[in-house]
Subunit: 184 residues, 2 copies
């Protein structure tokens, strides 16, 4: 890659980071190009689709989620709830991210597939540990948990819920993952 191309790519990514933070994943790509000081064609050359751009932005985001997952305690039920809370908070960093991630599941060749899969696997590791620690009483389908968490995140974003309301919803979901019959 030529030197100016490399520089432009970096400028576009930095501009996108700012614009996505301000306007969410559905922000204007025109504004991204303007902020980066490049023509719209240059943006399209580097990132043919919006998802190509977003997936690049999510690389560090996914790393953060994975690091969190592998560092989190799973001794108490509340530990798992805290993990889910942090997951939703992270999803809310960028408006529209939860929705974009959810849509990934129905788009076989989305550039975000790897990011989605990484989150499902990280969450799966947390729940596996919680299961073996006896905190969660049955193995769970991590993909389904992520679907539920994504739903909570989208609901929270649209309704502008505060953390306490989000926590309450996640608590209900987590209770639901521990079916009553397992307690008898």
């Amino acid at each position: 890659m030529r030197a100016d191309a490399l520089k432009n790519r970096a400028r576009i990514l930095e501009a996108a980071r700012v614009e996505v933070e301000l306007g969410g994943t559905e922000c204007s790509l025109d504004n991204v190009a303007k902020r980066a000081g490049v023509g719209p064609g240059t943006l399209y050359r580097h990132f043919p689709t919006r998802e190509d751009l977003i997936s690049e932005l999510l690389l560090t985001w996914v790393s953060d989620v994975e690091a969190d997952a592998d560092a989190t305690a799973t001794d108490r039920w509340d530990d798992v709830l805290d993990w889910l809370m942090r997951l939703v908070e992270r999803a809310r960093l960028y408006r529209g991210l939860a929705s974009t991630m959810a849509a990934t599941e129905s788009d076989e060749d989305s550039p975000l597939r790897a990011a989605h899969a990484a989150v499902v696997e990280a969450n799966g590791r947390v729940f596996d540990r919680a299961f073996h620690a006896g905190v969660v009483v049955a193995p769970v389908d991590s993909g389904e948990v992520i679907r539920l968490v994504t739903g909570v995140a989208m609901s929270a974003e649209q309704a502008k819920l505060d953390p306490a309301q989000v926590r309450s919803m996640l608590s209900i979901v987590l209770h639901g993952l521990t079916p009553p019959h397992a307690h008898s």
Copy 2:
């Protein structure tokens, strides 16, 4: 209202019904006007905002939900689950509806507020009956249930989930609304 105005209003609503069915609640208003055979200004005169138009479309939708709520059995746990399933299926009739409804909660003077409140109340009646029938073991906050159901609906829409997957998610939520400690 003048006769031609009344006719145009009806034509716009019928056109909107078709366009929203095809393209969801975020469909092009230009296309609605074109389909109705009126100028864009006429649409804006009758419905100043997109939500004004949608809320009008939802009048019969809300009636259906209310009628369903008041006719539904609440004798068995599965009855309540079926009710939630039908609610999600109804939300999915129009793409974007769940999201629009969720956003209503953070918009104090949205024209959709009445529709949202009616759904919360209808759901509340179902859960009240289920509670008194001993099917649900604790009173629930219907607003919170609707937030969860809306989240499931958004997740289902984005990820294009099939009914079995939706039912499984709703089952988890409904289990979560019946906390294990209530079973001891």
